[in-house]
């Protein structure tokens, strides 16, 4: 089997690019590091400004990608080495991490998961609840296949006994496969900013300071406790505060650029929260509200009309009280006073930081990065999806923070540019 394009990253941008290429008749190899495709979007509650359910619009894409005859998906795999051996010729080495479950035999019945006695924090839910060591990453995972996290496994063998198809295989070894592709699309997305780095906000030290992706999970239809509860004592929060620009537009944290989505996703979360708990007080502390997209300003106005309080001012620090409540200290720029307000819970609207490790895999060519660590397009304005290496394209947040529609648009642009390149190097379309 030979492939025309390797797409690295199975988030919304990677899936979209793969689908466009596959629909055009090209053979796509989609490599995803985690055990399921879906990326960050499948973790979200709803999307702004339309308030569509994120799961409801991501799962069809996931299914389409998974079932497309021209797309081969390699989940739980990492691209290790890429050699450009000429135009239209990339030799790649991909590490297949062992799942300790034979994917072809696993029927996703979850009996191993039920049988497994060990709990560890569940990545998909940001550790808000636990998962087993033998597990399916999340309900809508694709592929919906189990895997075993051997680092935490006690080797009791219960999963093996429980599995009706004998799919458990503790003898699996890491395997490196070599493939040849004609072009590469980088769609590795972003890393959420590590909120612990902003010490003044106490994330990781104060129980009731959570970050926005955790809040996404608390608000999602598939949420862990079916309600928003604060972590320290399970109280339904009455007063919550959002702190914007945590890890964005902050030179003291070495990240000077805007993350483009925090203002709007925080507004969205505040709206969802207020709809669920109309009597709760929600305050959003912002430096500037950047409601630049279509319908964004109206969305923001709607939030104000719903009684969400917007306060201009960068939160300087948060302190924890004995009962777990949090005191937020900020200069309210609008009325020029130093404000100290108490909240049940504080949500940090973390920014989007680069996830560009994949460039290290390119062994004989060098992919340029911008000063912030994102993949640098040859021209932000006129060629946003071309990298400096011909035949390598970039889409979505790998090239810089952006929202879902922009990522999708860019993914299509990258796919089209890639088709252009494939045509140039003489790749044949397989018509089925």
């Amino acid at each position: 089997m030979s492939y025309d394009v390797m797409v690295i990253g199975g988030g919304i941008a990677g899936m979209e690019a793969s689908l466009t290429l596959a629909d055009a008749g090209y053979q796509v190899l989609l490599v995803e590091k985690s055990p399921s495709i879906g990326g960050k979007m499948i973790e979200l509650s709803k999307v702004f400004p339309t308030l569509d359910c994120a799961g409801c619009i991501t799962t069809p894409k996931m299914a389409a990608t998974a079932n497309h005859p021209n797309i081969t998906i390699m989940t739980y795999c990492e691209v290790q080495e890429i050699y450009k051996e000429g135009e239209g010729k990339f030799r790649v080495k991909i590490l297949k991490k062992p799942r300790y479950v034979k994917v072809d035999d696993c029927i996703g019945c979850q009996r191993c998961e039920i049988a497994c006695p060990i709990f560890v924090p569940k990545e998909y839910e940001y550790g808000l609840i636990g998962r087993k060591v033998a597990y399916i990453p999340f309900e809508m995972a694709s592929p919906r296949k189990a895997l075993i996290d051997l680092d935490n496994c006690v080797m009791c063998g219960r999963c093996e006994r429980a599995c009706p198809t004998d799919a458990i295989d503790f003898l699996q070894q890491p395997e490196v496969v070599e493939e040849e592709v004609k072009a590469v699309i980088i769609a590795t997305g972003f890393k959420p900013f590590d909120a612990c780095l902003k010490k003044e906000y106490g994330y990781g030290r104060y129980k009731n300071v959570i970050h926005a992706l955790e809040m996404e999970r608390l608000l999602a239809p598939s949420r862990p406790y079916n309600w928003v509860l604060r972590p320290s004592d399970g109280k339904v929060p009455d007063r919550i505060a959002y702190v914007l620009c945590v890890g964005s537009r902050d030179k003291s944290l070495d990240f000077p650029i805007c993350s483009r989505v925090c203002c709007m996703y925080s507004t969205k979360q505040a709206i969802l929260f207020t709809s669920a708990l109309p009597l709760a007080d929600v305050t959003i502390y912002y430096m500037d509200i950047r409601a630049f997209g279509k319908g964004f300003e109206e969305f923001y106005n709607m939030a104000e009309d719903m009684g969400i309080r917007f306060v201009k001012g960068k939160v300087a620090k948060i302190t924890e009280k004995e009962d777990g409540n949090l005191v937020v200290r900020v200069e309210n720029i609008d009325d020029g006073t130093i404000e100290e307000e108490e909240y049940d819970m504080v949500v940090l609207s973390i920014g989007l930081t680069p996830n560009s490790e994949v460039v290290k895999a390119f062994k004989n060519v060098e992919i340029e990065l911008d000063p912030f660590g994102f993949i640098k397009p040859v021209s932000e304005n006129t060629n946003p999806v071309l990298t400096n290496v011909k035949g390598v394209f970039v889409a979505g947040c790998a090239a810089g923070p952006k929202d879902i529609p922009d990522s999708v648009a860019e993914a299509n642009a990258a796919a089209i540019q890639c088709i252009d390149y494939l045509y140039e190097v003489g790749a044949k379309v397989v018509v089925r």
């Binding site: 003044e200 620009c245 537009r249 902050d250 030179k251 003291s252 944290l253 430096m287 201009k312 001012g313 960068k314 939160v315 300087a316 620090k317 200290r329 900020v330 200069e331 309210n332 720029i333 020029g336 006073t337 130093i338 404000e339």
Partner: protein, 365 residues
């Protein structure tokens, strides 16, 4: 209210390089342990700088309430160095208060700095050369070399001149801060405690998160206060300018040892800090900061040499060291106390004093 459009450019000379970096997020004001709703800074002042509101800044007391603990500096999302901007405003205010105009020259011109230090240094050496007494070389006789009846009166005259200039500046500061507010004389008496307390212990600096700042500053401050008192009482105790130095356990000598160690330690640490630039307070050094530290260090060090040479009974080195010690002391005190950095010893406590007087006067009205 008048806007001075050239104000930012003017303040650059005082070290305010980052005025336009600030995007007014208010992080600095909220993180500052000293800023309050009544006396807010630093953002408000950066805004004044950006807008060129010179007259507002001239009549403000808040810059003196900032002790440059640097909390704001570390967390400013624009790295606009709010602490350093406040420091620059203080440098500027020092020139506003000074009626002689020398302060402005010293802050803004390198030539003036070198020239004034040089002139005072060599003039002092020249005066010593003209007026010194007989040079005894078989035994150290400092008093014979530098007769107390010349040195002490000269010192008092010099000190009086400095005090008059400094108090004149304080008077102008008072006018700027009080504006049209008239306070009854009794308030000035009642608030004297504030003045003395803040002069003696710099209570506000202790509010900073980093307590070592206060300790270092207090060491330095007690060190030079001790040295100052010792020099003043020498006329009574004869411990310093003498042909027969008292034994080591003489109280004046013990106090003097403390002063030397404290000042040498604090200045050396500050010099190293400014070279390493690790703490926010030491990251940005204006040329006048160096001038102050170097002069102070050299003064203390040469004073120390005088004692050592005297102890080992080395006549000529003692006399030379003494002459050089004087030659550093004169520009140090003459330039720093009324005109530049050291004037804060008066401005800081007086600022709090005037602030309280003004507040109570306004309450009373």
């Amino acid at each position: 209210m008048r806007l001075n459009v050239d104000f930012t450019a003017k303040l650059k000379k005082f070290g305010a390089e980052t005025t336009y970096e600030c995007f007014n997020c208010g992080n600095c004001t909220a993180i500052c342990p000293l800023s309050t709703n009544e006396e807010q800074f630093p953002r408000k002042f950066i805004r004044y700088l950006q807008l060129g509101l010179e007259s507002k800044i001239r009549s403000s007391v808040e810059p003196w309430l900032c002790y440059y603990c640097g909390e704001c500096q570390q967390t400013c999302p624009r790295q606009a160095n709010p602490g350093e901007l406040m420091m620059s405003v203080r440098r500027y205010l020092t020139t506003v208060y000074d009626w002689t105009g020398l302060s402005k020259r010293l802050y803004t011109s390198t030539t003036w700095k070198f020239l004034s230090v040089g002139i005072l240094f060599f003039a002092t050496l020249f005066i010593v050369y003209l007026l010194h007494g007989p040079i005894v070389t078989d035994h150290t006789e400092l008093e014979t070399f530098a007769p107390a009846e010349i040195v002490h009166p000269a010192g008092y005259v010099f000190g009086t001149i400095l005090a008059v200039i400094l108090l004149g500046n304080v008077y102008r500061m008072h006018k700027f801060i009080m504006g049209d507010t008239k306070a009854p004389f009794s308030l000035y008496i009642q608030e004297l405690g504030t003045l003395i307390k803040h002069f003696a212990i710099q209570a506000r600096l202790r509010l900073c998160e980093n307590k070592s700042l206060w300790l270092k500053h207090w060491l330095l401050m007690t060190g030079y206060t001790a040295a100052f008192i010792l020099v003043q009482v020498d006329i009574l105790t004869f411990w310093s300018l003498t042909n027969n130095p008292p034994p080591a356990w003489h109280p004046a000598k013990i106090l003097w040892t403390y002063a030397t160690v404290a000042m040498l330690y604090a200045t050396t640490v500050a010099i190293i800090g400014r070279l390493k630039k690790e703490e926010p307070i030491h990251q940005y050094s204006h040329s006048t900061d160096w001038m102050f530290l170097i002069l102070l260090w050299l003064t203390v060090f040469t004073g120390f040499l005088v004692r050592i040479f005297m102890q080992f009974d080395l006549p000529l080195p003692t006399y030379y060291a003494f002459a050089i010690h004087l030659a550093f002391t004169v520009p140090l005190l003459g330039l720093e106390v009324p005109f530049t950095k050291w004037s804060h010893l008066a401005y800081r406590p007086f600022a709090l004093y005037f602030l309280n007087v003004k507040r109570r006067a306004l309450e009373g009205e």
